[in-house]
C-alpha cells in the first residue's frame, strides 16, 4: 500500500490530569488514508488521547510531543486545530440550548473553512449530507444536542464531520448507543471521510469495525499501546479480552 502523507505523529506522550498520569509514553503515527482503531478497557486512556490531541485545557502534556501535518501542535488553540483540519467526534457532545442545529452547522462550517458560504450552496451541501445519514430536516430547527437521544447525538457528530471535511478525524466511541441500522449509517459517513483523512477510531467493540475496515488496530493498557496489528487483533480482543496482553507486560 502506498503510504500517504503523515497527518499525525505522537512520540512518547505522557499526559496528566490534576496531577494523575493517564498516558505513560504513547507513540503513534497516522498517515492520510489510514484508519487506526484503538481498543482498551475503561480507564486505559483512550478518551484522554483524543482530548489531548484536540487540545482540551484540562490535560497537561508532561513529556513527549504531538505533530500534526509535520508541525508541533502545542502552540495551537483548540479552534485553530479545528481550522487546521482536526475533528473530534465527542463521546459526550455538549448541549447548546437555544442554538439551532442549522445555524450552528453553517457557522461552524464557515469558521473552519474561513469563507462566507452562500445560503443556497450550503443548503445543498447540507441536504446531501443529511440525506446520506438518513436525517430528517426537522433536525435543523432543534437546539444542538438538546433532548437528543444517544443515536441522534452521534449522527449529528458524523454530519459535522462530513461538512467540516477534516484531515484528521478522531472518533471517540462513536458507535456507543447506536442500533444496528444507525451503526451502518454512521460507518458509511466515516468511510466517506476516511480516504482523504487520517482516522483514529476509539471503540470498545468489534461491531463498528465490521463496517469500517481498519488498517491498524492498537490495544491500549494503562496509558500505553501494548500491541498493534491488523483487523485480526480486534477480533482476538473481542474473543479473549485483555488479560492475555496483561500477562505479557
Amino acid at each position: 500500500m502506498k503510504m500517504g502523507e503523515e497527518v499525525l505523529r505522537i512520540e512518547n506522550l505522557h499526559v496528566s490530569v490534576e496531577g494523575v498520569e493517564i498516558l505513560k509514553g504513547l507513540t503513534l503515527t497516522i498517515h492520510k488514508g489510514e484508519i487506526h482503531a484503538i481498543m482498551g478497557r475503561n480507564g486505559a486512556g483512550k478518551s484522554t488521547l483524543a482530548n489531548v490531541i484536540m487540545g482540551h485545557p484540562a490535560y497537561e502534556i508532561t513529556q513527549g510531543s504531538i505533530h500534526y501535518m509535520s508541525k508541533p501542535l502545542d502552540e495551537l488553540e483548540v479552534f485553530e486545530r479545528a481550522r487546521a483540519g482536526m475533528f473530534l467526534s465527542f463521546q459526550y457532545p455538549a448541549v447548546i440550548p437555544g442554538v439551532q442545529v442549522g445555524t450552528f452547522l453553517k457557522k461552524s462550517t464557515q469558521s473552519v473553512r474561513q469563507v462566507e458560504l452562500s445560503a443556497r450552496d450550503f443548503r445543498k451541501e447540507l441536504k446531501d449530507a443529511m440525506g446520506m445519514l438518513n436525517m430528517d430536516s426537522s433536525f435543523l430547527s432543534r437546539y444542538v444536542n438538546d433532548g437528543f437521544s444517544g443515536g441522534e447525538k452521534k449522527r449529528l457528530e458524523i454530519l459535522q464531520m462530513l461538512l467540516l471535511q477534516p484531515k484528521l478525524a478522531l472518533l471517540d466511541e462513536t458507535d456507543s448507543g447506536l442500533d444496528i441500522d444507525a451503526l451502518k449509517i454512521v460507518a458509511q459517513g466515516i468511510n466517506m471521510v476516511a480516504p482523504l483523512a487520517g482516522c483514529l477510531i476509539i471503540t470498545h467493540y468489534q461491531r463498528l469495525l465490521d463496517h469500517v475496515k481498519p488498517d491498524y488496530v492498537h490495544a491500549m493498557i494503562d496509558g500505553r499501546i501494548v500491541e498493534s496489528g491488523g483487523p485480526e487483533l480486534a477480533v482476538k480482543l473481542e474473543e479473549q479480552g485483555y488479560e492475555w496482553l496483561e500477562q505479557h507486560q
Partner: protein, 346 residues
Amino acid sequence: MKYADMAPPPRSEHLWRYTPWHWMHPSDIEIIPDALPIRFEAQEPVDMNTNICVASSSNEYARVFLHEVAKSSTIVSSSKDNELMNLYAVASGHVACSHLHFNIKHSVTILLHLSGEADWCGLHITSKIAKNLNVSFAIVNELSNTTTYLECQDWDIAQDSSVEFAGITLGGFRTKSDIRSNLNGRGANMTQAISTHGIGQRHSDHHIEIHHVEPHTTSSLSAHSACDDESHLVTTGLLTIARHANRSDAGQVFRNLLLSPKARAESLPELEVLADDVSAAHGAASAPVDENQMHYMMSRGFSPAEASSLIVEGFLTAAFGEIKNPSIIDAVRTRLTVHLECHIKR
C-alpha cells in the same frame, strides 16, 4: 390617590429592594416632570386612538406616577382583520411618557418595538383580554444605552384565554419593569418569557407577578439574564395562587449567565400558595459559561469570542422555548442576533 399624597416606597419592600425609587425618578422625587408623549406608529392600519390620560386605577406608586406624568393614553383595539400588529414606540426628548392600553376582543399577535433617545422614558401598558382568545405579545426594548426606563404592565386574562408574552431588554441604562398578570377565569393561561442582556453598567430590574385568581389556571415563567461587563441584572417574581384556585399549575425558572467577574445577578422567585390542590414550582440558577460548551464549540472552529457570543445568543433565545407563536419567535431571534452581532466583541 395622588402621587403627592403618597410616601415613596421603602427599600424594605420586595419590589424596590434593588432599585430604589429615587434611581427611577427623572429628577427630584417630589416633582411631576413635563413630558412628551411616546410616539406610537403601526406598520399596518390598526384601530388606534389617543385620549387624555386618566388617573391610574391602581394605587401602586409607580403606576400612579406614570399616569400623572403621561399626558396621553393610546388605546389599541384588536379587530378580526388584524391578526398581526407591528407597533413602533419612539421615546424622544428629556422625558417621554405614555399609557398604552390594548383592548383585545380577538385573537391577535402584537409586536411592540420600543426605541428612542429620551433621557427618561415611562410606559404603562394595560390590557384586558376577553374570553376564549389566543394572544401573543412581544416587547423589544432597544432604547438608547443612556435612557432610564420605568415600565409597568398589567394584564387581565379572562376565562379560557391564553397569552404568550415575550420580553427582551437589549437597551436602556437603567430599567425598572413591573409586569403583573391576573388569571381571572377558569382555563386562563399565561406563558411568559423574558431575556435581558446586561452590558456596560446597565442596571435592569424585572419584577414579574402572576396571580392565579381562579381554579384551573396555568402559568409558566422563564427569565434568562446574560450579565456582562459591570452590569447588574435583577429578576424578582411573585406567584400567588388564591385559596380557592385549585387545580392550578404554575412554574417559574430564573437563570443567569455570568460573563464577567464584575457582573452581578440577583434572582428571587417567590411563591404564595393558599390552595391545597395545585402544582407550583420555582427555581433559580446562576453560573458562568460552561467550559464543556466552550470547548465543544471551539473544537468546531469557533474562536473564544465567537463561541461565547453564540452561547449567549442561545441562552437568551432558550428563554423563549415555551413560546409557540412563530412571528414572536422570529422577531425575538432576529433582534437578538442583530443586537449581539453589534455588541459582542468577536
